[in-house]
């Protein structure tokens, strides 16, 4: 009864109806899916819009710090002592360099990259993230820039970047004054505001560059930039430019400074010249100097070791930190102390027999002149540098009175010059000896203190400052190197960044002071003046001076010092302090020539030469008279 198996008759109408029903279901599902998708896009684009806008902004907008230009340093006449010059450096972005080792080798072949450069590169690289640029070589010359430009496509992730580099045109002449900047390191970053230094590569390490870092640096700028996915900057959106640092206008006369440097020749030593009254430092020299430019690009370990280990100690600022026995240069202050303390009078005369003895003691304190100087008053005592006069004066005055009066000239304390690391020297007293050595004071120590020996230690800066105080008749400003800080040179009176206290000594009678100065004039111009040789040509001005000798090793009693027979490194240091013109001084200076022998023979001519230059007398003019 079953129907035979055959192809069922097709019901076209039913099949079409099935299709339409299914198509409707399908279309309904399509609509449903589109509704879900629309909901999803509504959620992303409307409900979460703010969140994604922020994320899109964070994607593209980055902040970049802009380095300020460092302030320049100029001498009192506008000569540039520290300059910024455009230069190029080679930078690597480690992340973008496929094979760092090989790239360094290839760059080394192309651009003479030193081992020190590579060491520094690796050190810096560790401190930065792999997408940050790390400098490999600073100060590329034009030839190197051109060579790299040709081969640039071989070096992905390596680029040449323009920057400002610090240059010291006068090099070693001002190294000990201006100092230098060096690359900012981790230690520096701990002591500065890292935000302010975000774009800064160098910081003042020593000298004025360090002391005035805060003013020289300037304020960091900020730039809002749009970057692409590789972090490459496409355009600037907003910019707060960096504010350049202030310039320093110095008191230094760079011509005098260079002359002073040259005048020491191959001696080691120091010279400080100060304008009496104002305290402006005209020259401050420590010989030998060093090339500060080498520190900017970074010294190799070997070069640095060579500087450190040199027996001439070029990095040591003798003018600021060198401690020397003042020797006879202390006598003018001793004389004034004696007059003011009433130990001697202007007409006090003593007999010099060639030695001094404390009552009841066998030791003879000898004069430099065998047999003595005969009758000596205070002016003659200074002119001929009569030791016995000052032995007697000192022992009568006592060490504490000496200390109290000489302290007024600034001995035994920092002058407060605007450089860091100044030495304070030693101005001995009973209290000082007890505190530092735990020993009582012996009278014999007072005797030699009278001629600046024994415990006395002064810096060349202190010697110059004390001379300036005397030259200015008792009052002179704190020594300083910076006259003015600002974008333009000062007009009229220089305004100083900090008020500078003056050093003032107490004098009861002005003729005391003038007598001391007369004695110092006689040193140079007197018939028997110890430094009369430097005025043999009868200069057209009057100068005052005092020589001194700082002992390098002690002489036993009755031993004779014969300079020429002693090896140079054991010879005494030669000292000379001077000021000129004597009645209205415009320069006071201290010259220290290490192992120079006698103060009058080696140090005094240097002082004369500098005074000539400062007062505008060339050697020809003097010779013509």
């Amino acid at each position: 009864m079953k129907p035979p198996a055959r192809k069922p008759i097709r019901d076209a109408v039913r099949e079409a109806a099935i299709f339409r029903a299914r198509a409707q279901v399908g279309f309904f599902l399509v609509c449903a899916v589109f509704a879900v998708l629309s909901g999803r896009y509504f959620y992303l684009q409307v409900l979460s819009h703010d969140e994604f806008t922020t994320r899109a902004e964070n994607n593209r907008v980055k902040y970049r710090a802009l380095a300020p230009n460092r302030g320049l340093i100029m001498d009192r006449h506008g000569v540039i002592l520290a300059d910024n010059r455009p230069a190029y450096r080679l930078e690597l972005i480690p992340e973008q360099v496929p094979d760092l080792g090989e790239t360094l080798v290839e760059l080394g072949e192309l651009l003479e990259i030193s081992e020190a450069d590579i060491q520094r590169f690796h050190k810096l690289r560790k401190a930065r993230r792999s997408f940050q640029a790390v400098p490999l070589k600073l100060r590329l010359d034009e030839d190197q820039v051109a060579r790299f430009a040709v081969d640039r496509h071989h070096f992905p992730g390596v680029d040449i970047v323009p920057y400002q580099t610090r240059v010291y045109p006068l090099g070693e002449n001002l190294a000990h004054v201006v100092g230098y900047v060096g690359q900012l390191d981790a230690d520096d970053l701990r002591s500065v505001d890292s935000g302010r230094y975000a774009a800064t590569s160098h910081i003042g390490k020593i000298g004025l560059e360090q002391a005035y870092e805060n003013m020289l640096h300037g304020e960091v700028g900020r730039e809002k930039v749009e970057t692409n996915v590789q972090g490459r900057i496409l355009r600037s959106l907003d910019k707060t430019p960096a504010q350049p640092g202030h310039n320093l206008y110095l008191t230094i006369d760079s011509a005098l400074q260079q002359l002073a440097m040259a005048s020491l020749g191959d001696y080691t030593g120091a010279i400080v010249a100060i304008e009496p009254g104002s305290g402006e430092v005209l020259a401050m020299v420590s010989q030998p100097g060093y090339d500060p430019n080498a520190f900017v690009a970074g010294l190799s370990v070997a070069d640095y070791q060579a500087l450190i280990n040199s027996s001439r100690r070029p990095l040591f600022n003798r003018a600021l930190r060198g401690g020397y026995e003042p020797g006879s240069t202390i006598k003018p202050y001793m004389a004034l102390a004696g007059l003011e303390n009433g130990i001697i009078e202007l007409d006090t005369v003593m007999m010099s027999r060639g030695y001094f003895q404390l009552p009841g003691q066998p030791r003879r304190y000898r004069d430099w002149k065998r047999g003595g100087h005969g009758e000596v008053d205070v002016v003659k005592a200074l002119e001929e540098s009569v030791n016995v006069f000052f032995f007697d004066l000192a022992s009568k005055m006592g060490i504490d009175a000496i200390h109290d009066y000489l302290e007024q000239f600034g001995f035994g304390q920092p002058t407060g010059i605007d450089l860091n690391g100044e030495a304070r020297g030693i101005l001995p007293s009973r209290a000082w000896k007890r505190a530092t050595m735990g020993e009582p004071w012996y009278p014999g120590e007072t005797v030699i203190a009278g001629i600046g020996q024994g415990f006395n230690v002064t810096t060349p800066l202190q010697l110059a400052h004390a001379a300036a105080v005397l030259a200015a008749r008792g009052e002179s400003g704190q020594p300083h190197l910076v006259r003015h800080v600002g974008y333009e040179p000062a007009t009229g009176d220089a305004d100083h960044p900090v008020p500078r206290p003056a050093t003032r000594i107490s004098t009861t009678r002005s003729d005391h002071l003038e007598a001391v100065i007369d004695g110092m004039i006689a040193v140079v111009h007197g018939k028997r003046g110890s430094a009369r040789a430097i005025a043999a040509d009868k200069p057209p001005f009057v100068m005052a001076g005092k020589s001194g000798t700082a002992q390098v090793f002690g002489l036993a009693q009755d031993e004779e010092y014969v300079g020429d027979e002693v090896p140079r490194h054991l010879r005494d240091h030669a000292l000379f302090v001077a000021f000129a013109p004597a009645d209205e001084p415009s320069i006071a200076l201290a010259v220290v020539v290490e192992h120079g022998g006698g103060g009058s023979t080696v140090a005094a001519p240097i002082a004369r030469q500098l005074i000539d230059a400062h007062l505008g007398y060339g050697t020809e003019e003097i010779a013509a008279q």
Partner: protein, 371 residues
């Protein structure tokens, strides 16, 4: 002589009756032109890109017109052979193919193409042909045969490996079965079995495929690696807002944060520049195109034409859904371009060809009654 007469008769019939469905063509051209505008911005204002794509559009439209003029009868007759050709090429590509990491491309000297593209058309044709042979709705037997017809190319493509295309090809076949009227009971059974098989599928997946699924589930777990695309795409879409940043103002695209910005991720650029309104406009165009396709399919008088046209329309929808879902982070990243918009010739031309098929079905609906 006879052929000449037949030719004249054919031309006369073309002139008498429009071969193209004007509303559908208008929607397609409008969408494609919108695409060109977006591409100009997405490519970084590169007119060369737009020009090349315009040329492809012209080729696609020509191909569509030619196909629309042919009778569906021819497609039905050639369907098995076309399907066999596709399979043969897939086997060939397994031995000779090339491509980065996956063998998908066949180099024929003049053109390089992916044989899987052929299956996107030939598989629904084959199934429509098969369904047309018996009365509908299909029973168990037809379902099993259909599954074999779907599975053979799907497995071959999946082994290339190109799981996304394999699933799309399989889906286009399954739409034929669905539209043919497979009972809801069997559909339910089928879906449950598919879900049960999912862990098995995971087992056979390549690492990069598993990675994509995992990334999809939690894109923030690897923001710079595999999650990058999804995150950047969502940022682009979300930052567009309601009205968009304006044409050519997509920062995500111009600053190159967005990958594949003129191809697979072009919708993110559209969403960023034209906002939700632009997206909804595009969705409306797509919805209209799909609806029109289904309506045109419903007008056909034979089941082959109906099933083929309907399945192609729904397949088009799946492309849109997968791409739009991927861009918005609803679906995993699969290499499916946005239909009619993404830069690239293969997808555009094959899509327009399939629309040609749909229009052929519609314009020949009365003629077919005679067969």
């Amino acid at each position: 002589m006879n052929t000449a007469v037949a030719g004249i008769r054919f031309l006369r019939s073309v002139a008498a009756r429009p071969m193209l469905d004007l509303p559908l063509v208008s929607a397609l051209v409008a969408t494609a032109c919108f695409g060109l505008v977006v591409l100009y911005g997405a490519s970084g204002e590169d007119s060369g890109t737009v020009l090349r794509q315009a040329v492809r559009l012209a080729i696609g439209l020509t191909s569509m017109t030619v196909i629309a003029c042919l009778s569906p009868h021819h497609f039905r007759v050639w369907a098995p052979a076309f399907y066999a050709l596709g399979l043969a090429l897939l086997v060939l590509v397994a031995f000779l193919g090339e491509g980065r990491g996956a063998q998908r491309w066949l180099d024929l000297g003049i053109i390089r193409f992916q044989p899987s593209e052929i299956l996107k058309l030939s598989l629904p044709m084959m199934l429509a042909w098969y369904m047309h042979r018996s009365s509908l709705p299909p029973g168990w037997r037809q379902l099993l045969v259909s599954l074999v017809i779907v599975a053979v190319p799907a497995v071959l493509i999946a082994r290339q490996p190109d799981l996304g295309t394999a699933m799309l090809v399989a889906t286009s076949g399954l739409f034929v079965v669905f539209l043919a009227g497979l009972s809801w009971r069997l559909i339910t059974f089928f879906c449950v079995s598919a879900m049960a098989l999912a862990p098995v599928l995971w087992h056979f997946m390549h690492d990069y495929q598993r990675g994509r699924v995992l990334t999809f589930l939690n894109p923030e777990s690897d923001p710079l690696g595999s999650g990058w695309n999804i995150i950047q795409s969502k940022i682009a879409v979300g930052s567009g807002g309601l009205f968009g940043k304006g044409w050519m103002n997509s920062t995500q695209a111009h600053l190159e944060f967005l990958p594949e910005r003129s191809t697979d991720f072009v919708l993110a650029v559209l969403a960023e520049e034209f906002g939700l309104l632009g997206v909804l406009l595009l969705f409306a165009l797509y919805l209209y195109i799909i609806g029109r396709c289904l309506w045109l399919a419903g007008q056909a008088k034979d089941s082959f034409s109906r099933l083929l046209a309907g399945a192609l329309g729904l397949t088009f929808f799946v492309y849109v859904m997968v791409n739009a879902g991927m861009i918005s982070g609803l679906l995993p990243v699969v290499g499916v371009p946005l239909p009619l918009i993404s830069y690239g010739g293969t997808s555009l031309i094959s899509l327009l060809t399939s629309f040609g098929l749909i229009m052929s079905v519609y314009s020949h609906r009365r003629l077919l009654n005679r067969y």
